[in-house]
Amino acid sequence: MTRTFLKIGFAQLSDCAPLAIAKEHGLFDANGLDVELARFASWAAMRDALGAGIIDAAHMLSPIVVASAAGLGPFPGSFTTALTLNLNGNAITVSTELFHEMNEIAPETMTHCPLSASALKSVISLRASQGAAPLTFAHVYTHSMHAYELRYWLAAASIDPDKDVRLVVVPPSQMVSALAEGQIDGFCVGEPWNNAAISAGLGRTLITSGEIWSNGPEKVLATRHDWADRHPDWHRALVRSVLSACIWLDQPANRVAAARVISSPDYVGLPYEEIVGSLSGKGRQTAGRLHLDMPDFNVFHRYAANFPWRSHAKWILSQMIRWGEAPPELDSDAIARSAFQSEIYREVAASMGVPCPDRDEKLEGAHSHAWLLSTASAPIAFGPDRFLDGRMFDPADIGNYIAGFDIRHRGSRLGERDEAQVIRMSKAGR
């Protein structure tokens, strides 16, 4: 049987595990695919390679796909996904100095878990009164969960991320050195880079992304619309292969084996000891000094993790609007439908006997505890989906949700080109 050759891009992060496992365990081969994995050092480079057809699929930041569907960036309307690769997986880490400053200024707030940024707010106010330069925080890309998680956490403590601190983009692999050189005071990044800062004695992790939004989406398996439309069978074979890998990765016992696989220079290329915790969830640092077992630090399959919820896409869009990156009058239904192809996931899951939700959207933030989704092909156990501040996101009412935030960007920060693209996309009706 001739196999279809595909090239897939990935980033040097722990959550490349589904692709690494699909490759190493022959799951691509079993589905008639001959896959070459290519590592990229920049999200922009991976995005361009996918957009220009140099690669067929990518381990991609979920917001990049939503941004493309909304018409933002160099490939308006090009990208789509039918599979979420993982939930959670990021964390916010600050320099040891800043952690001590927070402790000194507001020790009573530093014993809470999840830790709020209120002590940070006090540090920022003090620094402003002394005429000191604003603190600088880094994330990995303008349209990333990292950016939206960091902004959400700061704003929940009345820190305006666009006024009270300086936000910059630093690639994950340069985070630790930027912290060491004092270029930045903190960052939000995926693993193993938080762990690397802690191990080097340079930083403390204050909060994990799962504590900001429990079980929010992280990476997706992105493809181009034209490719997926032209090769529906290849696309489904690809989703099936990676979904099988995610199911395997869901078993706690397999996480250790997966850490060995991705520690190889072909993937993350760091010692196993530095990676294993991000996959096993053991001894994760949070609140600056606690070490907790967080089995859901990375979720690869349970809680229907791989289902591309359109309510996830719409939450991402809501944050783009909140921070002035996208205009408010967008057709969110059309954007979510173009970005997250839940029908394709449903079809593949059914063919594999994997239970799948019936609906494309859910109320986000409604559950602070485990719950059971009964509107599914078979009942599915879900983890909490709560936000740090207890807010609820109704995907049918984005406008009111955004209006409910005191801290948001009023007005647009869009460049002329992106603005024109967004308008063109809306008129075309996708």
């Binding site: 990229f40 050092a41 920049s42 999200w43 922009a44 480079a45 361009d48 390679a49 957009g51 220009a52 057809g53 140099i54 960036g73 160099p74 600088t136 880094a138 990995v140 890309y141 303008t142 666009d162 910059v168 983009v169 630093v170 690639p171 692999s173 340069q174 050195s177 930027a178 270029q183 930045i184 990156e325 920060r413 869009l414 460049g415 002329e416 080109r417 992106d418």
Partner: protein, 206 residues
């Protein structure tokens, strides 16, 4: 716009490969004011951009620093005019050409493509030139190494097997053709085998 054509464009080259950055700089020096930065990352890079305020940024496509540059796409206090990827003007084919050459370029939004295109073309040509020179250099080194191996193998065959130089060369060439292996590989096998025989001989005589 006459004011736009009057002033030469300011170009910043960001490339960790200093030799290549120099090549691109030389290529552009007549038509633009060129600055280059190597081994500059993160905030230092952003500060440099703010200081130079370039009209065009040319950089290695695969550089991790691209994500930092991309954040300048939005209007902020620090960048009153957003930058965009140049190839957005050119469509997918223009982008493929640039990516294959390893070049990515960002321009100040609103700059006319006609002014920038020649600079980008020069940069792409220089990237390709550096690439070609490196391939040739590698080939020269390989050729030299294989010539040395062949000479050494010939010498061993003449010395140990009593062949003439022509016989030794023909024997290796024939084997290379029969086995479909490069002559260099055959020569290296010969050297390895004589090495083993040589060592065994040494042990026997002890």
């Amino acid at each position: 716009m006459p004011s736009e054509t009057a002033k030469p464009l300011r170009v910043l080259i960001i490339d960790n490969d200093a030799a290549r950055a120099r090549q691109v700089e030389e290529g552009l020096a007549n038509d633009a004011v060129v600055h280059s930065a190597t081994q500059v990352h993160g905030l230092v890079l952003l500060d440099l951009i703010a200081e130079i305020s370039p009209d065009v940024i040319i950089m290695d496509c695969q550089s991790p620093d691209r994500d930092t540059i991309e954040s300048l796409r939005q209007v902020a206090q620090s960048n009153p005019k957003p930058i965009v990827m140049f190839v957005e003007e050119e469509g997918i084919s223009g982008m493929q050409e640039a990516i294959e050459a390893g070049v990515s370029a960002y321009v100040i939004d609103g700059l006319t493509p006609k002014r920038v295109r020649p600079l980008i073309d020069t940069a792409i040509a220089r990237f390709k030139l550096v690439d070609k020179m490196r391939v040739e250099l590698r080939k020269t080194k390989d050729d030299l190494a294989s010539r040395k191996a062949i000479e050494r193998a010939k010498g061993l065959l003449m010395e140990r097997q009593g062949m003439t130089e022509n016989q030794a060369f023909s024997a290796m060439r024939d084997m290379s053709q029969q086995q479909g292996k490069p002559l260099k590989d055959v020569a290296e096998s010969v050297i390895t085998i004589f090495g083993i025989i040589g060592n065994t001989g040494g042990k026997d005589s002890q």
